[in-house]
């Protein structure tokens, strides 16, 4: 019995030694950072950072992406480019194109119910979608109020106003 004592002690020492080298591996998932195969976009801190005006082609393709959540097909872009060339007043071309985009069944616009269920969230998301920035507290308050005060305002109208606004024409 006395002869086995050092052996046991040695085994215990070895176990504790190797045990100390073992490393626990944890898989940590942070759901806020999940990437959905969409190119990352840098948000503007404020609208003063936008100084360059979009070209007609940039305007069309970005508007399409904003409204359909996908890149505009090249043939469609070419045809729309021809339409834009054929109209002298590009503001009219913008407006008519926007109205056409908004009329399509696959356009991605929240329903009126969704908008009114959470107006602050809708306002915030709309600023992010069209202006790539968060609204200031004042902007958020004002637009919230406009929507709340007027039950006839629809998400389509809000989207149309953003798409036709001066800020949307700049980057």
């Amino acid at each position: 019995m006395q002869d086995s004592k050092p052996t046991i002690i040695l085994l215990l020492l070895l176990c504790s030694l190797f045990g100390a080298c073992k490393r626990d591996i944890f898989e940590k998932r942070i759901y806020d950072n999940v990437i959905y195969e969409v190119n990352p976009v840098t948000l503007y801190l404020n609208n003063a950072q936008k100084t360059k005006q979009k070209t007609s082609l940039q305007y069309i393709s970005i508007l399409y992406t904003n409204l359909y959540n996908q890149t505009i097909p090249s043939q469609k872009l070419n045809e729309l480019s021809e339409v834009f060339l054929s109209i002298g007043d590009k503001g009219i071309a913008n407006s008519l194109t926007l109205n056409r985009f908004l009329s399509q069944s696959d356009v991605q616009i929240p329903s009126n119910q969704q908008m009114r269920d959470d107006i602050p969230m809708f306002v915030s998301n709309t600023y992010l979608k069209f202006y790539l920035r968060n609204p200031t507290p004042y902007e958020s308050y004002q637009l919230n109020k406009m929507i709340s005060d007027d039950p006839d305002i629809t998400p389509e109208m809000i989207y149309a106003a953003f798409a036709l606004s001066n800020e949307y024409n700049f980057y």
Partner: protein, 450 residues
Amino acid sequence: MPTKRNSRRRFIRNAGLATAGAFIAPYILPSGRLFAQSGTRLVNHVVFVLFAGGIRQQESVEQGYLADQNIPYTGNLMENMLNGAPPPSSSLLYNRWQPILNQPLVAQGTLFREMRYTSGPTGHYNGHTAAITGNYTNNGVDLNINPDFPTLFEYYRKHNSPEKSAINAWWLSEGLGPYPALNFSRHGMYGPQYGANYFRPASTFGYVGLNHLADGVDFQPDDVEKIRVIKNYLDANFNLTASDLPGIINNTADRDQIEAFIKQTLQQSQLNNIPFPMPPGTGSGEINGDLYNIAYAWQVLNQLTPELVVINTFNSDTCHSNFTGYCQNLHKADYGVGWLWNKIQSHPILANDTIMICMPDHGRNAEPNNIYDNNGLRAYDHTSDENSRRVFSLIVGPPNKVKQNQVLGSISNPVGETIDIVPTIAHILGFNEAIPSGLLPGSPLLEAFV
């Protein structure tokens, strides 16, 4: 006694006045005023048809038909515009349409039978630019830039009193290419704020327009107002404006009217309700780009009654490779012009208050190139030879304003140049005297008017 300081002030003041005078003097009007009020108008509407694509005198006013092909058939391809019998029916290589007018337009106006395109290459962009700006240019066709000199539209809008909004001035082209750039210039005293509205109807109302503009959301007027209020609110929080959009910008009221016009015209196009300049019973396969452009020019005239409209035809340019097609398209363009004049005379506002001017952008060469068409006829280019500098012009209008049945000019004695059309239209609409001197080298074709 003036002090040293006063002398220096006086010197600076005088020097400033002299410098300002040096800049302003070239633009002082013959009447001694810097900006004159618009003068007396002959009529309130002008339609200028750039009967373009390069038209030879031989097949137009000279009615040579196949003579230059060494085939002894002659005759009038343009029975709605010119006097003269058509070619013998046995010789016809084109589908002849019965004239739409009871008497040709020449009987209702003055024909400048022989005019000159004096300077610059006889290219289409050059020819169009000379006709629309009243200045010859050497700029090539590929530049696709706005012209250096002010356009007719800019003179019209700036020098009418009060100034005219863009809904009154229209430029409609058969094709795209460099032509959308002709509705305003890069001139520092003018520019897009005085430009014309522009359509290329074959795109705006054709396949791509119907595909991408028709059937949009039709916001009701109340909704449009709400959108505008929200937009204005958004714009108030951003200190830049999208005023640098390339092209002209209409005022709000005109923009609404033009948008409504486009929507309505697209709907009518979908329903095949747009009348085209063709004889009754003619199949739609006969429509070419020229007739398409004329048909939609009529929609603009009919619904918006602008004061100044410039359109072009272009299909006769097929003459580079197809002489038969050239004859056919020349014949169709002539029919289109007659049809348009008929429509104008049936309109309650435009009738008897419109003068129409037709002129090719330039001519074509005397000698053919090496291409033969399917009928063995030789083709013609336009490479600035003397023949390609020969054109005609036809000015028609009310008999108390335009001299009727008058023919001026001959090959040995040309009368007028293509750059004279801008001052001529300025004369008709009463603002020629208001245009600063030094900008227009041409003169009004006063011989045409009573």
